[in-house]
C-alpha cells in the first residue's frame, strides 16, 4: 500500500462519526462516488454521499479502526495495472502480487468499466472442445459464452474446471478465487504448473483466510485483466470464477450493513444487475476489432441442491446455461447430468461446427435416457418392466459409462459414433425418432 500512499496528497481527515462492522462515515468535501480511500492504511470505497456525509465500505472490515483514524481519499476508483507482465502471476484482491514477484508495470485501468456496445459484438460460433461428452456432445461450449457449474460443495467442480481450462485452447486462463480454501488454491497452482501452463495463468485470489468483503473486487479485477488481453492483444481468454456464491454472500453482508431492504433470501434487490455486470463481460469480438474473446466458466455452489435460491436462480437467468455434476449410482462415476445441464449456445455449433447429425442424435439419446429414468422409477415402485424398459436401462448404463462420465476424453465425431452404436445396439429404428435422412446415412446395416 506504500505506493498508493505516496501518490495521495489530498487532505487528511481524522474525525470518523460512525463505524459499523463494514462501513465508516465521516464529513468530507469534494469526494467522488465510487472513489477509494485509505483509513489507517486499510482500503475503503465510497458507497454513499449525502451532503458532506460520506460513507465508506472498508474491504478488510472495520475492526481496530479508531474514531480518529487518518482518512485519505485517493481520487480514483479501484484499478489494475495491465500489461503482458500479468501473465504467470498470482495477485490478491487489490491486484498486488502475492507470489513474491515484482510489482506490475503498465497502464492503469479502472476495474468494472463500461459494457461492450451490443452491436459491436459478434455472435459466438467457435466450439470449445473439452473432450467431455457430457459437455461437448450434450452441452457444447462456445467461445464468448458464460456458464456456471451448479454444484454441491462436495462435488469435484474445481477438478472438472481445471480439466476444461487445460483442454480448451485458450491463450490466457484467468482464475478468480473467491473464498477459496487454501487447499484448492494449491490444487489449481499445482495442476496448472504440472501441465506446464503456468505462463498462461493469471490468478486473483481471495482465500477463506482473507476478509470476506475483499472478494467483491475479485471478478472485476479478473475481468479487467481479461479485457486487456482480449481487446488489446486479441487473445482468446478463459476466465474461471469460483465460487460466485461466496461473492453474493459478501454483497449481502455489505447491503445489510447499509440498512438496505433485503429481497429474496436476504440478498440485495440489485443482485441480478450485480451478477449480470460480471457475467456479461463474456464476449466474442468480431475480426474487425481483433477477434479476441472472453469466455467465463464459473461455479455457483448450492445449498442442499436448491436451485430456487436467489443466487443460482438469478445466475441461471443471466448465464448461457448451466452444468450439473452428479454421481451416477449405476456406474459409480461422476457424470455431467444430461437432464438439468444446458448450454444455450450449443445450437450455434451443433451441426454447424460439428457433424450434421449432432443435434438429433443428442436429443434422441437424452430422450431415451429419460425413458430409462422412468423405467427405473417403475422398478423402484415394484412394477414389472417391459422389454423396452429393460433395453432403456441397459442403454442408460452404457451411455453414462461410455459418454457422460467426466473421465471420458473423445472428439465430437467419436462421441457421435459411440452414440449411434449404442442406439443401434439397444433400439429399433422407429424408437429413436430421428429424421429419416440421418438414419439412412448413419444407422447402417442393423
Amino acid at each position: 500500500m506504500d505506493e498508493v500512499m505516496a501518490t495521495a496528497f489530498q487532505k487528511v481527515y481524522t474525525k470518523i462519526s460512525q463505524i459499523t462492522k463494514a462501513t465508516c462515515s465521516l464529513k468530507a468535501k469534494g469526494v467522488g462516488y465510487d472513489e477509494l480511500a485509505l483509513i489507517n492504511g486499510k482500503l475503503a470505497q465510497v458507497v454513499k454521499i449525502s451532503g458532506e456525509d460520506v460513507t465508506l465500505q472498508v474491504f478488510e472490515g472495520t475492526s481496530g479502526i479508531p474514531t480518529n483514524a487518518e482518512v485519505v481519499f485517493m481520487g480514483k476508483s479501484p484499478s489494475l495495472k495491465v500489461s503482458e507482465q500479468l501473465a504467470g502471476r498470482f495477485f490478491n484482491a487489490y491486484g498486488q502480487p502475492i507470489d513474491g514477484g515484482p510489482a506490475i508495470e503498465g497502464k492503469e485501468v479502472e476495474i468494472g468499466g463500461p459494457s461492450v456496445n451490443p452491436v459491436r459484438r459478434k455472435q459466438p460460433s467457435e466450439l470449445i472442445a473439452t473432450g467431455i461428452a457430457g459437455i461437448d456432445l450434450n452441452n457444447s461450449l462456445v467461445s464468448g459464452q458464460k456458464i456456471p457449474f451448479f454444484a454441491d460443495p462436495d462435488q469435484p467442480f474445481n477438478e472438472v474446471m481445471a480439466l476444461v481450462a487445460l483442454r480448451a485452447k485458450a491463450d490466457k486462463i484467468i482464475l478468480g478465487g473467491m473464498g477459496m480454501t487454501n487447499d484448492d488454491y494449491y490444487f489449481f497452482k499445482n495442476t496448472f504448473s504440472e501441465a506446464g501452463a503456468l505462463d498462461r495463468i493469471i490468478a486473483f485470489m481471495n482465500t477463506t483466510e482473507d476478509p470476506a468483503v475483499e472478494r467483491l473486487l475479485i471478478p472485476d479485477m479478473a475481468l479487467a485483466a481479461a479485457e486487456y488481453f482480449a481487446v488489446e492483444k486479441n487473445e482468446t481468454v478463459l476466465v474461471l470464477l469460483t465460487d460466485m456464491t461466496s461473492y453474493a454472500d459478501s454483497l449481502s453482508i455489505v447491503s445489510n450493513r447499509m440498512d438496505q431492504i433485503p429481497s429474496k433470501d436476504s440478498m440485495p434487490g440489485s443482485l441480478y444487475s450485480d451478477l449480470a455486470k460480471i457475467y456479461e463481460k463474456a464476449v466474442q469480438f468480431p475480426e474487425s476489432v481483433g477477434g479476441g474473446s472472453i469466455t467465463i466458466i464459473a461455479v455457483t455452489t448450492l445449498s442442499g441442491g436448491d436451485i430456487t435460491h436467489a443466487v443460482p436462480d438469478n445466475t441461471g437467468y443471466i448465464t448461457e446455461g448451466q452444468l450439473y455434476l452428479r454421481r451416477d449410482t449405476d456406474t459409480g462415476k461422476v457424470i455431467v447430468d444430461p437432464f438439468r445441464s444446458l448450454s444455450r449456445l450449443k445450437q450455434l455449433v451443433a451441426g454447424k461446427k460439428t457433424r450434421k447429425d449432432h443435434a438429433q442424435v443428442m436429443n434422441a439419446a437424452i430422450r431415451l435416457y429419460a425413458d430409462a429414468a422412468n423405467a427405473k422409477t417403475k422398478l423402484e415402485n415394484g412394477f414389472d418392466l417391459t422389454d423396452y424398459d429393460n433395453r432403456c436401462l441397459k442403454f442408460a448404463y452404457d451411455y453414462a459409462d461410455k459418454l457422460l462420465a467426466i473421465d471420458v476424453n473423445l472428439n465430437t465425431v467419436e462421441m457421435l459414433d459411440v452414440t449411434w452404436s449404442l442406439l443401434r445396439k439397444y433400439f429399433k429404428l422407429e424408437e429413436v425418432n430421428i429424421k429419416k435422412e440421418l438414419t439412412d446415412e448413419y444407422w447402417g446395416e442393423a
Partner: protein, 579 residues
Amino acid sequence: MTKGFVSGVVSNMVTLAVDGPVLQGEICYIQTGGDRLMAEVIKIIGKDVYVQVFESTRGLKVGSEAEFTGHMLEIQLGPGMLSKNYDGLQNDLDKMEGVFLKRGVYTEPLDCERLWDFTPTAKPGDVVQESDWLGNVEENHQPLKIMVPFQLKGKATVKSIVPAGQYKIHDVIAVLTDEKGNEVNVDMVQHWPVKFAMTNYAEKPRPFKLMETGVRTIDTFNPIVEGGTGFIPGPFGTGKTVLQHAISKQAEADIVIMAACGERANEVVEIFSEFPELIDPHTGRKLMERTIIVANTSNMPVAAREASVYTAMTMAEYYRSMGLRVLLMADSTSRWAQALREMSNRMEELPGPDAFPMDLGALISNFYGRAGYVKLRNGQVGSVTFLGTVSPAGGNLKEPVTENTKKVARCFYALEQDRADKKRYPAVNPIESYSKYLEYPEFADYMANRINDEWIPKVMKLKTRMQRGKEIYEQINILGDDGVPVDYHVTYWKSEVIDYVILQQDAFDAVDSVTPMNRQEEILNLVTEICDKDDYQFDNFLDVTDYFKKLINLCKQMNYSTFESDQYYEFKKQVQEML
C-alpha cells in the same frame, strides 16, 4: 431553465438541490468530469429532487451542476426507425463509436439528412386534428403516414402542403392554421413522452383476428389475436427466448419491435446477426426490414432498462396510429420490475411483496392496457399485440410479477421445467396454459370464416383429451402398466400423439419450425382422425405402445417433410395404412 446541484449520491440515485420549478418525471443532465449524464426525476421533497441517472455515477461529486430540460422522457418518431438498433433511451447503437458504450454519449435516433419520397394525401382546406394522416412515406416497403402533430389541440385547417417529392424529416411538409388562427409548421417527426399511452383512436373494440405465428402450440391450441396480450412465464432454461424469437420471425405482423429488457447481450446479437439474413414468410422480404430492436441488456444501466419497455411501446403505438399491425415483444418484464425494485429500495420506500414497490400491479396493468386493436378516426384499423416474458424467481409462479401479469394478460403460455427436461419443446404446458380468446364469440366467428366452424370444437376436444391423458398417465404410474385396462393405454397414447405431432415442434428445423395455418389444419384433422378412431384392436399394452410409437414416428417424419412434397405424401400414405 431550472438548475440544480448534486447534494447526495447512492449508486444511480442522485439528490439535487434545485433553484426553480421541476416536473415529476422531468429529464435533466448532470455535469461530471466532462460527461453529461442523463437523469429522470422520480421524487420531489421541497428543494430536494431525487433523480435516477441512466448511466454510471462513478466519480460524481457533491456540488456538480445539473440542468433541467423542461420535458419528460420522450422519443422521436418518424421515418427511418425500421431495422434500427436502439438502446432503451432511443440512442442509435450503430452510431456510437468504439467497442465500449461511453458514458454520456447520446446519438440521434433518426437520420436528418436522408431524403424520403413524400406523397401528400391531404389538401389545403382540409380540416384535421391530431394524428390525422397528411401524406405517405414509404420505408422498407411499409406505407408510413406523416401525421398531424400529436400535441395539436382541437381542430386545424391545412393551409398548405408540399407537392409529392423528396424531403428530409425536418423539412416543413405542411402548414396548418389552428383554432386560434396560429400557424403550425408540420415536419415528419413527432415527439411523445414514453410513459403516456397514445389514445389517438376512435375506439378500442375487442380483438378477434387470429395472429398467425406458425407455432402450433400457440396457433392451434392457445391462439393469440391481433391486438391481443399474452405472457410467457418460465424458469430459466425452458425456452422463453427461443419461443419468443420463433414468434418474432414468423408472426403475421407489419412491424415487429423487440425490447430486450435486461437480458443477455448474446441473445440480442443473435437477432442482429440472423434477422438480416432471414426471410419474412409472409412477404418474402428480409425480416430485419420490419424489425426494430430496443436493446437494454442486463449489463447496461438499470434505469434505462425501465425506460426501454416504454420506449418500445411508444414506437408500437406510433405505427398503430398509421393503421399497421405491430407485434411488440418484451424479454423480460421481470427485469423491468426488478429495475423498479432497485430504485424503490434506494428511495427507502416501504416495500410490497418480495420487496417490489407497492404499485407494481398498477404499473403492469397500465402497460398491458396500452396494447390493443383500435379503430382509427378515419375508419382504418391498427393493432399492437403485446407478448411479454416473465422470469419468475425460482420458477415459482406465485410471485408478484407473474401474479400481477396474469390478471391482465389474456393469453398464458406456461413454460414448464418438466417438459423442458424431457426435451418436449416448446415446453408450453398444454393444460395450464390458456387463451381467453378461444372463448370470444368474435374470434369463433372469425375462425369459422377463415378455416371452418369445426375448428374450435375440434381444438377443444383435443384439449380435453390432453387432460384425460395426463390423468391416466398418473394412474399408470401408481397402478403400473398391468394395473389399468388396455383401453386406458390407448387413451394415454392418443394424448401422446397430440403432444408429439401438434404441440412439439423443432424450432431449429427449417421445415418444422414454421407451420402455416393450412398445414396446421391438415395436422389437426389427421390427429383428430387418429384420436376419434375407436375400433383399435390390441391384445395388451405392449402392442398399444408399439403401434402408437410407430404412428408418432411417421407423423413426425411428415412434419419434417416439405408440405405436399412426394415425401410428405409417402409418409401420409403410411399413416393412412396404419389406420
